[in-house]
């Protein structure tokens, strides 16, 4: 029996406000509250509220036979908590149905998997905790920021205990192979890989309302018949996309919601089921290994990491940011740690892209790449100064580490010694052993 695996990415960064160089050292608040609130409200109205309601209805209507998976970044969850807590309630309700799986990712939707293994692990842990706290399920499947994947990343993900991961069915990765099977990683053979079906996913995401497309209009039974007409042995169709497709990238007037509502009816009639990534990994066996030496992603035509690390501006910004990582890991100041989280969102680097296609995100608050770079680097300069300000000047990281452990140990020592002193001073005062004192108490 064929099965469709739907997965939606939900993410919004904390956009930075206009931060001029003369603000460096003077102003330590970096975010554009107005536009962040405005954008998340807009998307919630257009997408989160109606789409969540639609999914709830569908799950009810088909009695649990319709299933989807979400990967919601930690930073967008924080924004929802601040600005649209109703959305969180809806997701909680979805979680309760048992037909919705929440996936693990980096808390900040960051590029840490490419730059800093230690940071990567920290963020994944933080995200898993956040999901568990909000939705009561511990994510078992991992999907990286923008489906970025490589053999190296697979090793790290497997080491963190995940058995399944999502990635793009990029042509340079699959070659002649079809994305409609379950694969496993070449570097970590126990890690199963779900590969995105590029054609069907993009048909819905980008071509749905395109009049010039030869297959316009795309209707539910057409899509389902395409799925049904794949060869007999292809049992799995992974449709992975941005949640914004529902209502924002494809506005409600295009009929995207009606299209989605009709999918389960046609699919179930043709004997096609719906599964979550965990179920797929559980029921199916890998047909082979995928070798991916260079990182791939789901973006653009090249399916590589060039939308975030394509030009020297982006590389410098990322280098500078992760150059301070080691020091940040020693910091305990909560505001610094929070800024550290927000500054890592991959979106900031996407805004600096000078590619023509795909250009920077449609939500980019900047006029062009230079503007984005200027603003980010000014913020980062201030941030780096603040981090350095936490420590004495001219001390190397390693030395700092040693000093920090000494300080930590000192605290322990002091506590121990204090206990001893107490114990010792207790004896001569009362002239009785400690045991009796506890008895009295």
């Amino acid at each position: 029996m064929k099965t469709i695996c739907f997965y939606f990415q939900i993410h919004q960064p904390f956009r930075l406000k206009r931060y001029r160089f003369f603000d460096i050292g003077a102003d330590h608040y970096y975010y554009d509250d107005f536009s962040n609130e405005d954008i998340i409200h807009g998307i919630a109205e257009r997408t989160y509220f109606p789409a969540n309601q639609m999914l709830l209805d569908l799950i009810k209507e088909y009695d649990g036979k319709f299933k989807v998976a979400f990967s919601i970044s930690g930073v967008v969850l924080e924004q929802m908590e601040i600005y649209v807590p109703e959305a969180i309630e809806q997701f909680k309700e979805l979680a309760k149905t048992g037909c919705v799986e929440f996936l693990a990712e980096t808390y900040n939707h960051s590029l840490a998997s490419l730059t800093d293994p230690e940071e990567f692990e920290k963020q994944v842990k933080a995200h898993v905790e956040k999901i568990e706290l909000l939705f009561g399920q511990k994510p078992k499947v991992f999907r990286n920021t923008e489906l970025i994947y490589s053999d190296d990343i697979a090793l790290q993900v497997a080491a963190m205990g995940f058995k399944t991961m999502l990635t793009e069915g990029a042509k340079h990765v699959l070659g002649w192979k079809s994305p409609n099977y379950l694969y496993s990683s070449a570097s970590a053979p126990k890690l199963k890989l779900l590969t995105r079906n590029m054609k069907f996913s993009d048909d819905i995401s980008y071509r749905f309302s395109n009049y010039d497309w030869s297959e316009y209009p795309l209707v539910a039974d057409k899509l389902v018949s395409w799925v049904a007409s794949t060869s007999e042995s292809e049992q799995l169709v992974n449709i992975f996309m941005n949640y914004d497709v529902l209502g924002s990238l494809q506005s409600a007037s295009t009929g995207i919601f009606e299209f989605f509502k009709a999918i389960p009816r046609f699919a179930l009639a043709k004997g096609i089921s719906f599964s979550t990534p965990s179920e797929v990994a559980h029921t199916m066996k890998s047909v082979g290994e995928l070798i991916v030496p260079y990182p791939c992603s789901w973006a653009g035509e090249e399916k590589d990491t060039s939308p975030w690390l394509g030009n020297i501006l982006q590389k410098e910004a990322v280098d500078k940011l992760y150059g301070i990582a080691e020091k940040v890991h020693l910091v305990t100041d909560r505001r610094i740690l929070q800024d550290w989280n927000y500054l890592q969102a991959s979106d900031h680097f996407n805004y600096m892209s000078t590619k023509l296609f795909p250009g920077p995100s449609v939500y980019s608050p900047y006029e062009n790449a230079y503007d984005a770079f200027n603003n980010y680097m000014n913020v980062l300069s201030d941030f780096i100064d603040r981090v350095n300000g936490q420590f004495p000047e001219g001390v190397e990281n390693e030395e700092l580490n040693a000093l920090m452990t000494t300080i930590l140990n000192q605290e322990k020592m002091i506590k121990e010694l204090e206990k001893k002193v107490k114990g010792a001073s207790a004896v001569p005062k009362n002239g009785t052993p400690k045991k009796k004192e506890t008895k009295k108490a």
Partner: protein, 420 residues
Amino acid sequence: MKALMFGWEFPPHILGGLGTASYGLTKGMALQPDMDITFVMPKPWGDEDRSFLRLIGSCNTPIVRKEVTWDYVKERIGDCMDPQLYFDLRSHIYANFSYFPTNDLGCVGFSGRYPDNLLEEINNYSIVAGVIARTIPCDIIHSHDWLTYPAGIHAKTVTGKPLVIHVHATDFDRSRGKVNPTVYGIEKDGMDHADHILTVSNLTRNIVIEKYHQDPRKVTTVHNAVEPMSPDVAAISSKKGTNDKVVTFLGRITMQKGPEYFVEAAAKVLAKKDNVRFVMAGNGDMMNQMIRLAAQRGISDRFHFTGFMKGTQVYEVLKSSDVYVMPSVSEPFGISPLEAMQCGVPTIISKQSGCAEILDKAIKTDYWDIEAMSDAMYSIITYPSMAEYLQVEGKEEVDRITWEKAGLKVRAIYDQVINK
């Protein structure tokens, strides 16, 4: 295709961007195999590059018949004009101008600059144009900038050939809105008589349509380009003797170029950074005011005025710079940022300049937005990848902007106008 062009400046003796543009455009057009260009200018010096066009000086064109010998003419003006052409022109004198003050060859004098009696010179130029138009056969007449519009109109009346005028600037750019009515009159007259109007940017095109009330269908933008750097210029090395970063303003220090915004932005950067110096290269009526402003902001120790720069000095300054800034309030096109980018200097330009329409690998800010401008300066001198990116990509971009392509666009207009 024979084109008769009227211009005012031609390198190497130039006073502004008009000469550079005239040279680049004619050279680019000469690459078309069937293109035959005759370029008329007020006063040639004899050291102009004549390899791709025929150059006629109005100061060597007779308007009064004087009986002179071949050898005499060759001795007098042989370096600028073929004696045969002199006699051809002489036989096409069309009226009695003997009341004019002329020299021994029957020619009227021109300064070739922008003197106080400019209007008189423009008028004389147009009289001379009548002789030339009667002598040199042409298919189309092309006038560069308002000084030559009357000449173009005259030539059109004489020959009946279509007139194309090329707007390199309007008086609205030069005066920030306080237009000289005489100049406006000449400009408007030229545009009204033209069969087609070429503008150097969409910015100028809009001014021509809105302020001179021209039919948009008659106005086409042909963006300027830049000559590839000559080997001599490429060989010039940086003269920078300091480790400080150098931010440069290069151009006439006049209202149109927005020098005060540069000074204000410099003051903002210097409040934050100490390893940077600012250079204002050029001359102009606002120079003293700028010196005072810099002193008032307390940045004179880091703000330098070089005075007028010419020839290779311009490139020496550019190559010693880390940032080039052109904060023009209204710039019809502005070739100098392109030259800066050729030298690999990261460039900041105002959105109010025509070249911003074709440049992507430069930072664009509003001329009045000194915060954005100073922020961009700071970024280039502080974050190495920003400077490197603009350097490499900017050079690549500007190398693709050639006069040959601009020439083809002009040619398409010629063909369209002639076949109408």
